[in-house]
């Protein structure tokens, strides 16, 4: 066994190289785990949003019977909002379990608690982006026109929502690591957020005074901005501002990363 050439790099790796090796290895691992966890994993990833869209269309058609959104078709409007929200939600909630799920990996000192968190944000975002593209294709097959009016703008808004979700995900992964109850609360508030972000009911339907408070929610800014870029004639409420969203994204990311550095030993040991 000893006369085989040494497969390990002999010189010490630079810190960047170690990080790169860890991230690339964990990304592959996470992709495999996420898509082959059970044989239905892929199916659910696509069917869950599909079912939600189906139910929403059913409700809107048969119960409320008002399918009118000013300046946009209802189904594409719903798909865009739902996909954007799912992207945000996945990036925010998935990292919370990341440290616990990868506890065994801290045997290898190369891996620090922030690695599985960042990798999950990235993998979730990549998967959601792929599903979104898939839905645009599926919609095209059903002769629903899903081509974006201002595609670059949509892409930027998509990335912004990704950044917002990841920032909060990184922050909450530390907080939930220190106080486990927080993780449960965050998963609980994700449904009210769905309503408050104007995913299902257009924000224009809410009374004006409520709208003022709803504008404190950064997700709303991202989703409405994305819809305005997506549909040429879509009108949203006044005061949609992507800078506000980026304040949230960057400050939560910064705070989260700082807390990760400070609490790394505690997160690793728990």
């Amino acid at each position: 066994m000893n006369n085989v050439a040494q497969p390990m790099p002999h010189e010490p790796r630079s810190a960047l190289r170690v990080t790169w090796d860890v991230w690339s290895a964990m990304t592959l691992r996470e992709f495999i785990a996420r898509t082959t966890a059970d044989r239905m994993a892929w199916f659910w990833m696509i069917f869950e949003p599909l079912a939600t869209i189906g139910i929403m269309i059913f409700i809107r058609t048969y119960i409320r019977s008002s399918r009118h959104i000013s300046g946009a078709e209802f189904i594409p409007w719903l798909i865009v909002g739902l996909m954007g929200f799912y992207l945000f939600r996945a990036c925010m909630t998935q990292p919370i379990g990341a440290i616990d799920a990868n506890k065994g990996l801290f045997t290898y000192r190369q891996i620090s608690p922030v690695d599985p968190v960042l990798v999950r944000c990235w993998v979730e975002g990549a998967l959601r982006s792929f599903i979104f593209l898939l839905f645009i294709l599926i919609a095209a097959l059903f002769k629903v026109d899903m081509s974006a009016y201002h595609a670059v703008g949509v892409l930027m808004d998509w990335l912004s929502l990704w950044a917002l979700g990841s920032g909060l995900g990184v922050l909450f992964s530390v907080v939930a690591g220190l106080v486990p109850e927080v993780g449960r609360i965050i998963k609980m508030i994700s449904f009210p957020l769905l309503i408050l972000s104007g995913v299902i009911f257009p924000v224009t339907y809410f009374p004006h005074q409520a709208q003022e408070y709803m504008l404190y929610n950064p997700i709303l800014h991202g989703l409405e901005s994305m819809r305005m870029n997506y549909f040429q004639y879509y009108h949203s409420i006044q005061g949609i501002d992507m800078t506000y969203l980026w304040y949230w994204a960057l400050s939560s990311m910064t705070l989260g990363l700082m807390m990760h550095i400070h609490f790394a030993p505690r997160l690793k040991m728990r």
């Binding site: 066994m1 000893n2 170690v18 090796d21 860890v22 290895a25 691992r29 000192r109 190369q110």
Partner: protein, 221 residues
């Protein structure tokens, strides 16, 4: 060479905690295998984990000027839904193995001798198979210093012999820091010893002296 300077460690419980290790100053030279001995709870495993970088000291520095392994045979890092091969690949990638990854996988496969199960999910393994895989994985890498904690080294008789042979083979090119209560193994594999007592560490150039000293102190109590 591994240098430990002014190392302090305690565990933070709900009511504070006592110092497990107090002001440890040790230098592990290259190519000298060291046995850590001491009573239960003396901090042997803690020191080993600190050397392996799995845990952080409260104060002090650990300077590793060598490639140090993770504690041999620790199977915690395996993902049950992934096959043995996938898990091995993952660990290899973390350690920066790129071109020679197939060679490394072959070495693990040869050592573990678990046959076709190598390509089945780890969750289907028995605990013995798991530890074979874990052990093979640790030994497939060419570390300068291997860490071994008795508690994690298990396996049937034939496998134990194989593991011991592999160790003996490595002793020329690498060294070992091990925690064990079995004095036979310590005398076989180690040259120097560290006795841990009440949070302090004493270095002995000869493992036999360390064991003798340990007998004297633990006998009196």
């Amino acid at each position: 060479m591994i240098e430990i300077r002014n190392l302090y460690k305690r565990y933070h419980g709900p009511f504070g905690g006592n110092w497990v290790l107090k002001d440890i100053n040790l230098t592990f030279p290259t190519n000298v295998s060291v046995g850590l001995i001491g009573r239960n709870g003396a901090g042997k495993s803690t020191l080993l984990r600190l050397i392996g970088g799995m845990d952080f000291p409260d104060k002090g520095v650990i300077d590793r000027k060598a490639r140090v392994s993770w504690p041999i045979g620790l199977a915690g890092g395996f993902k049950g839904s992934m096959t043995g091969r996938q898990n091995v690949k993952f660990v290899a990638r973390i350690h920066g193995v790129r071109k020679d990854i197939h060679q490394l996988i072959q070495r693990v496969q040869d050592f573990a001798e678990i046959g076709k199960s190598f390509d089945e999910p780890v969750s289907t393994y028995s605990s013995g198979m798991r530890s074979r895989l874990a052990f093979g994985l640790s030994l497939a890498f060419d570390f300068d210093v291997y860490l071994s904690d008795e508690a994690t080294a298990v396996g049937d008789r034939a496998f134990k012999q194989k593991a011991k042979d592999a160790f003996n083979e490595r002793v020329n090119s690498a060294s070992l820091i091990m925690v064990s209560h079995s004095e036979g193994i310590l005398k076989d594999l180690c040259q120097a010893g560290v006795l841990l007592e009440k949070g302090h560490a004493v270095w002995f150039d000869d493992i036999n002296d360390a064991i003798e000293h340990y007998h004297n102190t633990s006998g009196k109590k």
